[in-house]
Symmetry: C2
Subunit: 457 residues, 2 copies
Amino acid sequence: MTLDPVLARIDADLNQATARLFELLRIPSISTDPAYKAHCDAAADWLVADLQSIGFDATKRPTPGHPMVVGHTGGNGPHVLFYGHYDVQPVDPLELWDNDPFDPQIEDTPKGKVIRGRGTADDKGQLMTFVEACRAWKAVHGTLPANISMFFEGEEESGSPSLTPFMEENRAELTADIALISDTSLYDENTPSIMTQLRGLLGEGLTITGPNRDLHSGSYGGVAMNPARVLARIIASLHDDDGRITVPGFYDGVPELSNELAAAWDDLKFDHEKFLGEVGLSDPAGEKGRRPLEMIWSRPTCEVNGMWSGYTGDGFKTVLPSKASAKISFRLVGTQDPHKIRKAFRKMVEDMLPPDCTVSWSDHGASAASVMTTTHPAFAQARKALSDEWPNAAAFTGGGGSIPIAGHFKQILDMDTMLIGFGKDDDGLHSPNEKFDLSSFHKGIRSWARILHAMTS
Amino acid sequence: MTLDPVLARIDADLNQATARLFELLRIPSISTDPAYKAHCDAAADWLVADLQSIGFDATKRPTPGHPMVVGHTGGNGPHVLFYGHYDVQPVDPLELWDNDPFDPQIEDTPKGKVIRGRGTADDKGQLMTFVEACRAWKAVHGTLPANISMFFEGEEESGSPSLTPFMEENRAELTADIALISDTSLYDENTPSIMTQLRGLLGEGLTITGPNRDLHSGSYGGVAMNPARVLARIIASLHDDDGRITVPGFYDGVPELSNELAAAWDDLKFDHEKFLGEVGLSDPAGEKGRRPLEMIWSRPTCEVNGMWSGYTGDGFKTVLPSKASAKISFRLVGTQDPHKIRKAFRKMVEDMLPPDCTVSWSDHGASAASVMTTTHPAFAQARKALSDEWPNAAAFTGGGGSIPIAGHFKQILDMDTMLIGFGKDDDGLHSPNEKFDLSSFHKGIRSWARILHAMTS
């Protein structure tokens, strides 16, 4: 089957493709907040209907959390499974958005047209690049070039509690020759990327309790333990002066970068001054003596994602708080064991507690890092196809974010994954005013059409 | 004029006095939150009307913030100025209250009847003890035994920004022979107290900014500065391992306790295990080597009253926050200079900032400690009158809280102050389920009637 008419169809259909994406973006499918449960369900229904319209036998599949969407075409050729997620991050602080996050708009910017709204880049806009490539292929040739399965989840932004049980229960149905995922970024605007290593993620919530109620800092200040001070001291102790993480055993399984990969990454000439400059920073703040790209792609981290205690409103309140809480996450690399690190972290915190303080914990997910097998032939085929669509040849890159599903595909389904995404660094993932470039959407659809062609011709 | 019929009248009128107090308690006069501005105004109006009903020429006096209430009776005898505040603390976390904080109730408890609601002890219930004593005196004798002025403010819980300008503009009108304040506690349920030293208060708000927007901790974690970590490190550094505060020059002007006062306080046999045990604590957490009572009454402190950064809602969000904020207060003693300490604290924080971080500040008030001149004859008169009302003799005590007005009375009006209050340690000031014992209210009114009698007979 020929590629050129498919590409032409994609170009001609772009406005309609954008309109379809807007329908999905308007559904506020925030998975972490129970108030949006019905909206997550509605997003799944929308995807089922859309896949059915292209000929997939798509169904909504219940889980204890938000539903999965699974669809198949059957047919000849290699069997590929495309994965995406229809849930999105919360939108707070809402006042920092210039427009309603769930009323997407096309905006003209100095760098070109962008699609603005929550979920545009992460991940609805990217998910739809693959769906639209299939639609165009079907419209032109009446059939798809491969045996394609779709697998969408609605809990990616909230720890994916239902994902591995569902994969284990549906192992045969979900296993294909290779998995494809579009939830990552271009290396730069001219250089597509196939991500070959991703960091894992360990999420922890903790609350330290001192007094059994909030106290007046005049009556009790000086004699009563303040849990906010205890929490600050614990957080401050998590890094040493060289930026290394102090949890015992944390660096077990952290590999040094190979000379080959170090050289390839140096060739990318990563401009950390520009990367940091765009967010108002200048100084690489990670471990001393590491390349900035290493800090993001291949070194583990410990970050405070949230922290709160006492009075946080306007004005002042001289309270000595009863509780202090934090949400802390670790990005993991190599063969670091998230469960071992969770245990060591909790023990370290518990050992630091002064008399009269207790700690309670919340488990916010644990996934190891993923390292892909780049010798699978699909990697070379996709690299060639991407290089045909974009100005520069595709690069094998690392990723700082965590897409635990790639690890699950390997561990549960023994399936390799290609991570090919079209986002940009300034998309504002998880932030106010998230966007996805219209050109990313358009060329993303074209890229998948080319990759499907390369894998089957 | 005789005292006994006044005391009898107070006993007979207790239900009506409580009903009047409830009217005032039902007005949610939270001064720190602009949303309650009209309610603060309504509380001032209520007091003006109530004072007028007892014969005061009371008026509401505008300020740039919440209004003052001032009223005079004129007449012979010593001139006393009674001060109180009609504003209250915020009520969050609201879910920890058993009842509406602004729907006061009389509750039976194992320790006796209590008045439950925001402001019952701090300070509406205490303020009304003096007003009710005047009302009873007027009802029995048709006149008051002294030349009495009333002075109520509505910004005590929000840093009193209008207070000193108002005092300076109305110096002659507000100057009396002595000031009386009821905003403190009994030493214990049987022992009334006249507080002769109070800690000062310096309130600071700070926000540390790193990246110019919230970032994805996958894309940026490891290379971008996290301001929550910076704030934690700053807060953790404010105390050394012995519990001493590390701000340079902080201890300038902190006196050692005199042998005389140390002995008098030791005589009080302060039961710190019981005091801390009631709030779920056991270990005096202040400077090593200090008496627990010293930690509260005569040592300076630094406390975190609020702290927040990043995502604090349900679930988890892998944000690398742009900002981290805290509200920090210092309790001051002796001749510590709040302005000098503010400057040293800000410099210390600014010196600790890593590259790419900035800090912005909010000034939440600054007052020095107060030490009273206990040789004024009113102190002996009041001590005798209180000892007649309560089982034990009245004690001269210290106070951990900050009532800056006592310092202002001395500095601006050259007037001594007697701090005589009827609260208890378990009143829950600034906390959910604040209460004031009905016996404190009743015996408080009787105590003021006795003190007015002792000062004028």
